[in-house]
């Protein structure tokens, strides 16, 4: 298999770019840089990987964890300032769920549960794929997903949607 074509890269970027950035954001402070580096590495691959999306998620995860280790050397104040300002989701005025509240609820989850929920809901990966990516079993991935949803529901009960309360 030859290298990836330019049109294929553009389509990949449209279909998975935002979800990859959202996933990388759960693990590090510079998700855009990590995703960009993953796409560049994909274009250097000779031949291109068979499962392009799975390869991208694996590279993004490894790069994000490495970036998080590098960022850990900085002060906590700098890291917090770098991550707090950027929105995760598009604003959805017609939707009942407020994006900022959803982010706050997601940020309250442990990283293992949050990673599985992000991969499941916005990357549309199966539990088998999530398990392979995170290095766990399928049942563990599913258990974390269900536990994360329960935590989200509990947090939602404590801090309900500000729009719906108005």
């Amino acid at each position: 298999m030859d290298a990836l074509e330019h049109g294929s890269l553009s389509r990949l970027l449209d279909e998975h770019g935002a979800a990859l950035v959202l996933y990388a954001r759960q693990l590090c402070d510079a998700p855009e840089d990590v995703v960009q580096e993953a796409f560049i590495r994909l274009m250097r691959q000779r031949p291109a990987p068979d499962n392009v999306v799975g390869w991208l998620y694996r590279v993004v995860r490894n790069e994000a964890l490495s970036a998080a280790r590098r960022a850990g050397r900085r002060t906590r104040h700098e890291a917090a300032a770098a991550t707090r300002r950027e929105p995760w989701f598009k604003p959805a005025p017609d939707d009942a769920l407020d994006a900022a509240a959803a982010v706050a609820a997601l940020e309250s989850l442990p990283i293992a549960e949050r990673e599985v929920i992000v991969l499941r809901l916005w990357s549309a990966l199966s539990f088998d794929e999530i398990a392979e990516l995170t290095g766990t079993s399928t049942s563990t991935a599913h258990r974390r997903y269900e536990h994360g949803l329960k935590l989200l529901r509990e947090n939602w009960m404590i801090c309900p949607n500000p729009k719906s309360s108005q």
């Binding site: 389509r11 960009q36 560049i40 598009k90 959803a102 949803l149 529901r153």
Partner: protein, 212 residues
């Protein structure tokens, strides 16, 4: 025109078809659907820059030498430069440390003219090798080689007795009169002969043993 290829992880991409999802309670499934309705921000990536960098990376990968890892390719020229610099430095060091070839000093024989009336020192019994000086008259003697051998023997014996050899005697180890010294002797003798043809102290014919 062919259909654009789909980039999915596998065939069961739709997570609603995952059998494990059906195990969730209805309340959690509703919450899942509400969260899934949110769309991640897609304006965080600099698309133009990413496409440019990806295209450049693709070209670099295409022109790269197949079979060699990227790290090896990057290190080829620096390694060659380092190796050539090391070789040049080694050769320069060897050149600087090369032993200096010195010329063998020419043997100089002091030629002095003995004043008239001064008796010639005995060559058979040199009393002190430190005072032996070859004179012009000695140079004209037909037994000059014998005289030098006597001086050499005396010097060796003197050194063997614990005395330091006289520098002038040591220098005559290889001493035979050079053509230049012979010419000097002849010139001096001719001048002396011209000044006083009848009172010459030289008792050796001038043309003896000399060929022009």
């Amino acid at each position: 025109m062919s259909e654009p290829e789909e980039f999915t992880m596998n065939d069961h991409d739709d997570h609603q078809s995952d059998p494990l999802t059906h195990d969730l309670p209805a309340e959690l499934k509703a919450l899942e659907a509400r969260f899934a309705a949110l769309s991640p921000c897609d304006d965080r990536l600099d698309r133009e820059r990413l496409m440019f960098l990806a295209g450049r990376a693709s070209v670099e990968a295409a022109v790269a030498v197949p079979g060699l890892p990227t790290r090896v390719r990057e290190m080829t020229w620096p390694a060659a430069f380092t190796a050539m610099t090391a070789i040049a430095a080694t050769l320069l060091g060897m050149l600087a440390a090369r032993p200096v070839v010195t010329e063998t000093p020419a043997v100089q024989v002091a030629v002095t003219e003995r004043p008239a009336g001064v008796a010639r020192p005995s060559i058979a019994e040199p009393k002190d090798v430190n005072t032996i000086v070859l004179s012009t008259a000695d140079a004209h003697r037909h037994d000059i080689e014998q005289l030098l051998s006597v001086v050499r023997i005396a010097a060796n014996g003197h050194a063997a007795n614990g005395h330091a050899a006289h520098p002038s005697v040591v220098e005559t180890e290889r001493a035979t009169l050079t053509p230049g010294a012979w010419r000097q002797v002849i010139d001096g003798a001719e001048r002396t002969r011209a000044r006083s043809s009848d009172s010459s102290d030289i008792d050796v014919p001038m043309n003896q043993g000399i060929t022009s």
